[in-house]
Amino acid sequence: MSRKPYEPTLPNTWWLEKPFYIRYMLREMTSFFVGAYVAILIVGLWQLSQGPDAWGSFLGVLSHPLSVIFHVLAFVFATFHTVTWFALTPRTTPIMRGDHFVPPGPIIGAQYVIWAAASIVVLAAVLW
């Protein structure tokens, strides 16, 4: 005749339960590729400071097939990061115009415009 509440615990596989959570986990996993990629570039920067030869061997590593495979993956994940990040912005920074909130569409759209512009600038600088 007395209470005995059942205390559930969340298993470590909780995120496999629903597509929604899997998507979240993929989004969070973008951090692995982001981190790894910038770490590689920082190493490259260090190589750059060590002179042309070191830089050259760094470029050599970059063109190794495994490296290319990694970067293709990283590109996919980074783009996924971009898309999910933009999609969440209306939630983090709601904008009011007059008596109403600006709907998500324009806020998200504006970010894509900025993204495109930034990418073009980078490409142009590289190619010039």
Partner: protein, 253 residues
């Protein structure tokens, strides 16, 4: 009801006096086009087993009592129509207690932790001086109301707590609904208590535990947008923290 279609209602049951873990029990229930899951549960309670235990009251999606996991999604059972889960009125619907809470019995959860968190965020208007009644109401422009109105719609149904993995992973996390409510008061033009609330909302049990899963806002039946409320508070509290550390003396409130 002669040739009624029946479907299977599979309920995760837990009786603290005889069970150690919940177990599933199936009931065969007549299908009615207009019925919601709550109606089916009431049918079972009335006709099959009076000991089946669940909370409900309003049957109109506003009292917040009847949240449960239906087919593993947190929903208000009084707004979960059978027809949306079954094909031709046939099939199985599973029902269980809301996730991330201790289970008292059957579908009834223990919600003490939420009540404590709710109280902790000081969900009331805080003012340095009270306005006398004789002076009438405050002026609040429609756009000032609009700014926080959606955050006032929370019915404390706790679906968001069941959906948020961080609630399950970190029991101390104040959680989506309570944090949204704190934000609601912070944004209210009549309130002056933001700073007091921040001691709680910007603590390590507050907004920082949220990893922006957004499941809370997805399952919220009242469009409260707790995910947004939390991120806005992260930004604001971060700016606040930075100013506290940059401007000498600001911190001494």
């Amino acid at each position: 009801m002669s040739d009624t279609t029946t479907f299977t209602l599979e309920v995760l049951r837990y009786n603290p006096e005889s069970d150690d873990v919940p177990h599933a029990e199936s009931f065969s229930v007549p299908y009615q086009e207009d019925w919601v899951v709550l109606d089916a549960l009431n049918w079972v309670k009335d006709n099959v087993d009076g000991s089946l235990t669940f909370r409900w009251s309003c049957h109109m999606a506003v009292c917040g009592s009847c949240g449960m996991m239906v087919n593993n999604e947190p929903v208000l059972s009084c707004k979960a129509f059978l027809r949306d889960y079954l094909k031709d009125g046939k099939g199985t619907i599973t029902v269980g207690a809301l996730k991330n809470f201790p289970v008292e019995k059957d579908l009834v959860i223990v919600m003490d932790s939420f009540m404590e968190k709710l109280e902790a965020v000081k969900p009331w208007i805080i003012r340095t001086t009270e306005k006398p009644v004789e002076e009438g109401t405050f002026i609040q422009l429609p756009k000032q109301l609009k700014r926080f109105k959606h955050h006032t719609s929370c019915i404390n149904c706790l679906l968001c707590y069941a959906a948020c993995p961080q609630v399950g992973l970190n029991p101390g996390f104040i959680g989506p609904a309570a944090l949204a409510l704190a934000h609601r008061y912070n944004l209210d033009s009549r309130d002056q208590g933001k700073d007091l609330r921040k001691d709680v909302t910007a603590s390590e049990y507050g907004v920082w535990e949220c990893t922006f899963v957004s499941a809370c806002s997805e399952v919220c039946p009242k469009d409260v947008e707790p995910a947004g409320a939390i991120q806005e508070q992260k930004i604001e509290s971060s700016i606040d923290w930075a100013l506290d550390h940059l401007i000498p003396g600001r911190k001494a409130r």
